[in-house]
Symmetry: C2
Subunit: 432 residues, 2 copies
């Protein structure tokens, strides 16, 4: 009952948000920006409490690092908001315009999705990022963060909610959920929640999908591959292997598996292994790799190591590499290193992933690097939004048809005929 009330209130808020213009939304973002800066001490104090509790509970060091929300993180979040403020309104864009007949004009216009539920991991900056993206795109949002970050999230949600409220945003546009029971109940609210965005492991995202009829845009594992083709430049192949694997190992777009064409399985393989070893990477391999390098065998090609570990497999052909990726990958980011354009073209077209790269590091798949200015995350779902998701991923569209009393009977009888002329015009009704 409580959850139904919360989501229905969010639904009402979404109705009000959909009618706002960019000035009002940016005004609220400015107010949130100021409020976060003004509340920096309270936010850091809450985060200290979270850190102390989590440390006492034995949270692992990398997770503690992600939990930390200090003045440096606040500065990053503010800088993210500045770039968000500079982006155009994603709502009200004309995506298609067709004159169906004289005085009968069809427009496909972008509009908010409505109510979005987000379930995210420990980083508190995600709360600021996602709620401000939701506001700019006119969506109400229900957020459930990690329990480690409870105090930080509480302060952030309160500061954001109050500042936005004072700037005229409707009550209920942002709601912080705190328990697993909340999440379970949220999954049942398909009448008033339009989209769920879970960010976590594959198993977590699948568990969400199993228990809801709300559409899910998953942000799951990255089992990313780098394929070193027969025609790869050896120096480039080693440089890209190092960057893809080691530039930041704990992220989803780091490479987990390096596929090596069999023609490179001799001296080059030794050189590659040496370079990776020097960078601190432990190698696991297929039978042939292990025979040559004396490393341990790969246990499961589906594994996301998120660590200084790489799996190496010798493949017999380009198509063998493509098959391996489509079978074992997570459809996140996969790259080919080759000087052969035809091989690159085939790879990019045949690999069924959101991001497919030629001669560059897998680490480039990211909304900021792509120039989107803001990022919800990297979607591993195939529909609606795929790959890095910016503001565009938080809107949908409506068809709006403006007429002068036209009826279908006239077109059915042949008295009137459709013209179907692309008009290139922008949707004209911008009043509210």
């Amino acid at each position: 009952m409580r959850m139904q009330q919360l989501t229905q209130k969010a639904r009402q808020a979404a109705g009000a948000l959909a009618l706002l213009g960019i000035e009002e939304k940016n005004g609220a973002l400015q107010a949130i920006r100021s409020a976060i800066l003004a509340s920096a001490d309270a936010i850091e104090a809450a985060n200290q409490a979270d850190l102390a509790r989590s440390q006492a509970e034995g949270l692992a060091a990398p997770l503690l690092k992600r939990l930390k929300f200090d003045s440096k993180k606040i500065a990053e979040v503010i800088s993210g908001m500045d770039s968000l403020l500079g982006l155009p309104d994603p709502v009200g864009r004309t995506l298609l315009a067709t004159q169906l007949d004289d005085g009968l004009d069809l427009y496909r216009v972008s509009c908010p999705i409505g109510v979005i539920g987000v379930i995210f991991e420990s980083r508190p900056d995600a709360l600021v990022q996602i709620s401000t993206l939701a506001l700019k795109s006119g969506n109400a949002v229900l957020l459930k963060g990690g329990s480690e970050a409870l105090e930080t999230n509480r302060v952030l949600a309160r500061v954001i909610g109050e500042a936005a409220g004072q700037a005229g945003m409707p009550d209920g546009w942002i709601t912080l959920l705190e328990t697993r029971l909340d999440v379970r109940e949220l999954l049942d609210q398909d009448e008033s929640v339009d989209l769920l965005i879970p960010r976590g492991s594959n198993a977590f995202v699948r568990a969400i999908m199993d228990n809801t009829r709300i559409p899910v845009m998953g942000h799951a594992d990255g089992v990313c591959h780098l394929y070193l083709d027969a025609a790869a430049d050896p120096a480039m192949a080693i440089r890209l292997s190092l960057d893809s694997k080691t530039q930041y190992v704990a992220v989803c777009n780091a490479a987990e598996t390096i596929l090596v064409h069999q023609s490179l399985a001799g001296d080059f393989l030794d050189e590659l292994a040496g370079a990776l070893h020097s960078a601190g990477v432990t190698l696991l391999g297929c039978e042939q790799t292990c025979a040559r390098l004396g490393c341990a065998k790969v246990d499961n090609w589906h594994t996301e190591y998120l660590d200084y570990t790489a799996a190496v497999k010798i493949v017999s052909s380009l198509d063998d590499a493509i098959s391996h990726i489509n079978r074992y990958g997570s459809h996140h980011t996969d790259a080919i290193v080759t000087a052969d354009q035809a091989a690159a073209s085939r790879f990019l077209r045949a690999v069924d992933s959101g991001n497919v790269f030629w001669n560059c590091s897998t680490r480039f798949s990211d909304g900021f690097r792509y120039g989107f200015g803001a990022e919800v995350g990297v979607s591993t779902s195939k529909l609606h939004a795929r790959g890095p998701v910016g503001l565009e991923g938080l809107v949908t569209y409506q068809y709006r048809l403006l007429g002068h009393g036209q009826i279908v009977a006239d077109y059915a009888s042949g008295q009137a005929r459709f013209r179907h002329q692309p008009s290139g015009e922008a949707y004209p009704l911008q009043d509210r």
Copy 2:
């Protein structure tokens, strides 16, 4: 096990289809077109058997009409294929192009979704329509039609599959499913099926959503509204009411409920009721309507009558109308009749439906009338594709990044900087 084999075969076929160019796909469509014409006698004979069996089993007349697949229907299907042949390739379109840096070019390119499961009602023409749309967009398809149309669907699927196979399409791109057990098993194949398109009642679509983690693009009920605003032109209001309600009552974009502003609840309401009565429409009403017109009360405002029945409700304001529509409608198609542009603008923006119209009939929401040239159906889902779904609804996109050995470490250290320049260029690698 059998279903897993079928869907994995479809997945392999999808991999091959993704690599085909428009000439090959259009060649196969031409072959299918010829084969359907050459097999017209066999198709009609199978349909006669379906009709005879269904008549004996007491199938209702409107459903028998939908089941009928005679020379006229074949001609329609062929004409639909002709327009599909004329459409450009939906695959390989450049949707975004950004130069991230010198020699580091990002493209968002449309690509097939992969494997699509479609569960549709009795009309056998849907089988031809959907399978040819899937082929043109490079998708493999598993189809389950109504059991009434079993013989017709068998012949059609065989003729289409054989013709496409002879034209070089991969084995397994089209599969006809025949039993409910098949559908149940299909719902479990989330590893190899990318999208489900159920066409049927709301309850049917919800039942599908309850039992799968595959994304669902629902084609469900149309509880469409026509709102006659205070500033409506009376003659236009009556003309649009008649067309929206009676031009074809058995379809999803026919209006079910007419909302009337209270300022029109006097003489105009009598006139409207008279016009609808003359057209054979039975009226149901809210309390106030019933008091004036002496009609029966509406039982449930969620009802899709699909018949010569209309519900009439007096509303006190524009926002009252919007609230009613967002609460009781099915987010399909809703129209306002008004001379007041501000009222129209607010209505179009606040009504949360795939199609929102000003001063024209609800019956216009249709892929052919919109000029899409071909139609999967009208999606009542909010994400991926909304409203009439043409070829575009059967593709997704990939990000393709073409580099020259760039690594992220150089950008992280500040040695290199992103440029993020929109390039407007088309994706250059069109070889396969």
